[in-house]
């Protein structure tokens, strides 16, 4: 059986991280969000809910799929764009 932890999955993917974030999350706006859909759907598990109700986001291992952008219910909480050309995720076999 090929069971793998999320960590092991992420280690198979190659990222070339840009200096600046292509996605930013306004944690203040997340405080009034009850759904936290981004936490659920992000295939890379990059959204971490915090005790104070905000959400922590790390763009480094982003798949650039856009799922967080589409599920977010808080107007303006997620500022989303693609990373600069040549940066971000690179798939080798998928």
């Amino acid at each position: 059986m090929v069971m793998t932890t999320h960590d092991e999955k992420m280690r198979t993917v190659r990222f070339r991280v840009d200096d600046t974030a292509h996605i930013s999350v306004d944690g203040e706006k997340c405080k009034s969000c009850a759904v936290r859909a981004c936490v659920t759907v992000c295939p890379a598990g990059l959204f971490v809910p915090l005790d104070d109700g905000s959400v922590l986001f790390n763009y480094e291992q982003c798949f650039e799929c856009g799922a967080c952008y589409f599920v977010c219910t808080q107007e303006g909480a997620i500022r989303w764009t693609y990373p600069r050309g040549g940066f971000g995720v690179t798939f080798r076999e998928s």
Partner: protein
């Protein structure tokens, strides 16, 4: 002033995957990058260039290595040159250094040669000194910062454990910089497109006046690769009798070790005392009295 920069195209270490049992590397899964320290060297060269100056980027490698020379052209290198002998599959530091030094000699000796202090491939870190030897130039390695002062270069070099040293070197010289010395600029669109269409000049051994015999250096008789110390991780198999959800939970928690430290809480005063007691216990601060 004419500044030459040596670049190398090498596998991104993040894509170098080693079979934990055989130590074999799957070359088909590797992606190639410009060596980060070389990128820093290129950026420093571009920053140093006055309007009347010239920056030449060189590399030793097969046709695929044209890509890094195009990248160099796109960010502003004036000339590029690739050195290669058809049929060769790889080079060793001594060969790379000899080819680069000879290419510089036969075309035009620059006033300064910049390169990365180490490659992320074999990471030998020998090439800068070897080129210096073949050119009979001085060399400085592990440079984190430098400034040009007339016919001298004042440099800051990284030593072990965070120490640094200041020094100076006479030009012409080989300066080997660290990856952190500068971040390479991002090319503009017209330059990128122009670089993509540029013809890349190539020189082979005969053009350099070398014969294959010149490239024979003593080599190891046996060479093998293996993964680093880490023992291969056993693949975890969940119990088949469990319901799917629990099987997943089992898998998700497998192998994630946590420290068996202690977690304390209390007033800030108590917390501070706890931290100090802990630091003193481990010898990080002297206990009072």
């Amino acid at each position: 002033m004419h500044i030459a920069v040596c670049l190398s195209r090498l596998p991104d270490p993040n894509t170098v995957e080693v079979d934990p049992l055989t130590g074999a590397v799957d070359a088909s899964r590797m992606l190639y990058i410009l060596n980060p320290a070389d990128a820093a060297a290129l950026e420093r060269a571009l920053q140093l260039r006055a309007p009347e100056d010239r920056v030449t980027a060189l590399t030793v490698g097969p046709a695929e290595a044209d890509s890094i020379l195009r990248d160099a052209l796109a960010v502003g290198a004036d000339d590029v040159l690739r050195v290669w002998e058809e049929g060769r599959t790889s080079t060793r530091p001594a060969v790379t250094a000899l080819l680069l030094a000879t290419a510089l000699r036969t075309t035009e000796l620059p006033d300064m040669l910049l390169c990365g202090t180490r490659s992320l491939a074999t990471g030998s870190g020998k090439v800068p000194a070897l080129i210096a030897e073949y050119l009979d130039w001085p060399v400085v390695t592990d440079i984190v910062d430098f400034t040009l002062q007339g016919s001298m270069v004042r440099f800051l070099r990284r030593l072990a454990k965070g120490a640094r040293s200041e020094g100076e070197v006479m030009l012409p010289a080989v300066l080997a910089v660290e990856a952190g010395a500068a971040a390479l600029r991002y090319a503009g669109l017209p330059d990128l497109m122009k670089a993509k269409r540029a013809a890349i000049p190539v020189q082979d051994l005969s053009e350099l006046g070398l014969s294959p015999v010149d490239l024979n250096f003593p080599a190891p008789t046996a060479q093998a690769t293996m993964p680093p110390y880490r023992r291969p991780r056993e693949i975890f198999v969940p119990e088949a009798s469990l319901p799917p959800h629990e099987r997943v939970l089992q898998v998700m928690s497998a192998g994630i070790a946590q420290k068996s430290g202690r977690i304390v809480s209390g007033s800030p005063e108590q917390a501070a005392d706890q931290i100090i007691a802990f630091l003193a216990d481990r010898g990080f601060v002297d206990r009072a009295g």
